[in-house]
């Protein structure tokens, strides 16, 4: 299948090394990405073996929401983090911004580990901003657009010309002429305009990186494209890096350079968008793509509920729902036992495409 294509096999290198656990060598290969965003450059933001465990409430077991993740965002790069509801995307994003302290592992920015003292975090927030979607209440209904955007400047004691900075951020977010929006309240704006105000609020401090959690999920299709185009333009014009959290694979295709597919606290497949989305290797990624309306392959509808991070299965964490194991394909490839019992390593945070799956690895090795 697609995994046997040349590109995928080359990318499969990381998975081949996976069983001995020394996957980090993949970073040094320096395989060129077709679009060259941030290639070879050291990562701006990096998660290293990050785990976030929430204590169980009232005798419940603890929830391993993020369960060992390496993930890099290089300068000027747009990375999409995708996966179904509850897989840990938001928790990982929050840990990358210092809003959640990892239970173990660490986050580095610009080569230095995050410091969690409030002053240090405040300084970090200037350089890395969180963009939430507006309906989750990130805009105060009583504040004007001007106040909403100026808030960040005030918190950080901005010394320059406040009005100029606010106007600049609004125009960069596509609200022009900015003065026309200064005194409006959120209810006087359309959904798309509100999302632009939220983005302007994040841009006003001229961050190097933004983390956007479902930035367009509640927007109309027609408005969605405009906001995504804006994010792409900010990268091209300002060199802004971005991590975009979403369960929309079409969004990744629209704007991301790389994609990381998350399942139950782990990245299970990662690589260039073209490669991962057109030649997926992990059975979970394949299933996600197969159920999209436009997919030409037979839909693989996973049954059951999104997985529970307080009950992470042994072996491959996807094995209870894996169609490849259920159909006997994994058995034929001689990996069924491994699927049930042998844990897969943490994939490298960048570098060539990689997949955490015993079967994909065996099939690709057999194909040469």
């Amino acid at each position: 299948m697609s995994g046997a294509e040349t590109g995928a096999v080359r990318g499969g290198g990381a998975a081949d090394r996976a069983p001995d656990g020394a996957a980090h060598g993949a970073r040094d290969l320096g395989v060129l990405a077709p679009d060259g965003a941030g290639d070879g450059a050291p990562p701006l933001l990096s998660a290293e073996q990050v785990k976030v465990v929430f204590p169980g409430r009232r005798g419940d077991r603890e929830a391993r929401a993020v369960d060992g993740v390496d993930l890099d965002v290089r300068p000027g790069e747009i990375v999409a983090l995708v996966g179904e509801s509850g897989c840990g995307k938001t928790t990982l994003a929050r840990s990358l911004l210092g809003l959640v302290t990892p239970t173990s592992g660490r986050v580095t920015f610009d080569g230095k580990p995050l410091e969690y003292a409030s002053r240090a975090l405040k300084a970090y927030r200037r350089r890395a901003q969180l963009v939430l979607q507006d309906p989750s209440g990130s805009l105060n209904p009583r504040h004007t657009v001007y106040e909403a955007v100026a808030e960040g400047l005030r918190i950080h004691g901005y010394a320059g010309d406040e009005q100029e900075a606010v106007a600049g951020a609004l125009s960069r977010a596509g609200l022009r002429p900015p003065e026309r929006f200064f005194l409006r309240h959120p209810h006087e704006l359309s959904g798309g305009q509100r999302q632009r105000v939220v983005i302007a609020g994040a841009l006003v401090l001229e961050p190097e990186l933004i983390v956007a959690d479902e930035p367009v999920a509640s927007l109309d299709a027609s408005v969605r494209g405009e906001i995504l185009a804006l994010l792409l333009r900010l990268r091209d014009e300002l060199g802004l890096s971005a991590l975009i959290v979403t369960h929309d694979l079409g969004l990744a295709w629209n704007i991301a350079d790389r994609v990381a597919v998350m399942y139950l606290g782990r990245i299970v497949e990662t690589g260039e968008v073209e490669q991962v989305l057109t030649a997926p290797r992990h059975p979970y990624t394949r299933a996600l793509l197969s159920v999209l309306p436009e997919s030409e392959t037979e839909p693989v509808i996973l049954t059951g509920e999104p997985p529970d991070p307080s009950r992470v299965p042994s072996g491959c964490r996807f094995h209870a729902r894996c169609p490849v194991l259920a159909s006997g394909e994994a058995e034929r490839a001689g990996v069924a036992d491994a699927c049930r019992t042998r844990e897969l390593p943490v994939l490298p945070g960048s570098g060539p495409a990689a997949v955490a799956c015993h079967w994909a690895e065996a099939v690709e090795r057999a194909a040469g």
Partner: protein, 375 residues
């Protein structure tokens, strides 16, 4: 579905299969929310015609505020008292708009039922879901409490949940499970028509696929009519037989679902469908496409073609000349001055309009046309 409108069209007869009494026929439906102290009158639905046969699935698409939910609520007279309704709504030939309250109550669950937008958040938190499903059954006086409870369990199984879940409270269920409960409730009195308003919005792709598969199965097994409302044209074109695209309170395009999505004849339909990228289509790679401008304020719909301020291919006449649906190919209609001036149908009109749209739009339209056609 065939809009019967002020302009008689030969296509109207062609598009109506069978020719007998359709399950649902809506003629020139208008809904206006009355003026209130804070806000002007809102003509939310401005003349809509629909037609649906049993076993048929009709999708209604359009961006936020275009009147989709208002239309759905109007079909069963579930609108607030501030809403003024006119036109005809014939369910099995019987006019819902003029029927008595008693008759309407009977029709509401057994004739047609609605899965409301966002309803999965509105299950009553303090009642077990089994009781909530049994309620309409009891209300219709068709069963003893014990029989209604038993039926609730069967309905849960029908939507893929164990019957034992009748004991569960809403907070014990995931979003996808709650949406299944809402569907079970809509099926409680064996309706002939189900209206589902955004049944999968806010659910992730895998749960969405589960729910859509469920709905498709139920429609096929029970020969239901289905009206599914969504802003996601891709989902509708995959699930439904026919598709109606609404803009500013009107249907501006309708036809076979796949054809409308693959080659929309109306510039708005085109913008909407190209907003959903096809993975693998290189034209949309790093090229998200939207539609500049905001949806119109329904209290101040622009003159002429309501879409003209945002239309990339508008002509001078568009600012003044109102557009009605016209033939746009076999079984298809669109309300655009550029459509149907030659009988080449949608294809030819499409190509011509696209060519004027400039390189970006044209390139991607070209790709989706070549991959999509072949029929």
């Amino acid at each position: 579905m065939t809009p019967h409108d002020t302009h008689e069209e030969p296509a109207a007869a062609k598009a109506a299969p069978g020719g007998g009494t359709p399950l649902l026929e809506v003629r020139n439906l208008e809904v206006t929310y009355a003026r209130t102290p804070g806000s002007p009158a809102v003509p939310a639905v401005r003349g809509v015609d629909l037609r649906l046969e049993a076993g048929q699935k009709l999708g209604i698409a359009g961006e936020s505020g275009c009147g989709k939910s208002t239309l759905a609520l109007a079909l069963l007279r579930l609108l607030p008292s501030t809403a003024k309704l006119s036109g005809e709504i014939l369910l099995d030939g019987e006019d819902i708009r003029t029927m008595s309250w008693g008759r309407l109550r009977a029709v509401r669950w057994a004739g047609a039922s609605v899965v409301f937008q966002g309803a999965m958040h509105s299950l009553n938190a303090v009642h077990r879901i089994g009781d909530q499903i049994a309620e309409p059954i009891l209300l219709h006086g068709r069963a003893t409490p014990a029989a209604a409870r038993k039926r609730a369990g069967e309905l849960l199984e029908q939507v893929g949940l164990p019957a034992a879940r009748v004991q569960a409270y809403p907070h014990e269920l995931s979003g996808g499970q709650r949406q299944r409960v809402m569907i079970a409730m809509a099926l409680a009195c064996d309706p002939r028509l189900v209206i589902a308003d955004e049944p999968t919005t806010a659910l992730d792709v895998m749960i969405q696929a589960q729910i859509l598969r469920l709905i498709e199965g139920l429609v096929a097994d029970q020969d239901l009519g289905l009206i599914m409302i969504s802003h996601d044209l891709a989902v509708l074109s995959d699930t439904c037989d026919r598709l109606a695209v609404m803009y500013a309170g009107r249907v501006v395009e309708e036809g076979p679902a796949k054809a409308v999505h693959a080659h929309a004849a109306h510039p708005y339909g085109r913008a909407l469908s190209s907003a959903f990228p096809r993975i693998g289509d290189l034209a949309s790679r790093r090229a998200p496409r939207g539609l500049p401008g905001d949806p119109p304020d329904p209290a101040a719909v622009p003159d002429g073609c309501a879409f003209h301020p945002r239309c990339p291919v508008a002509l001078d006449v568009c600012a003044t000349q109102d557009q009605v649906l016209r033939v746009a190919g076999p079984g298809r209609r669109a309300a655009c001055v550029r459509v149907g001036d030659d009988e080449g149908g949608a294809g030819a009109g499409d190509g011509a309009a696209v060519a004027r749209e400039g390189a970006g739009g044209a390139a991607s339209e070209g790709v989706s046309e070549t991959t999509g056609s072949g029929s």
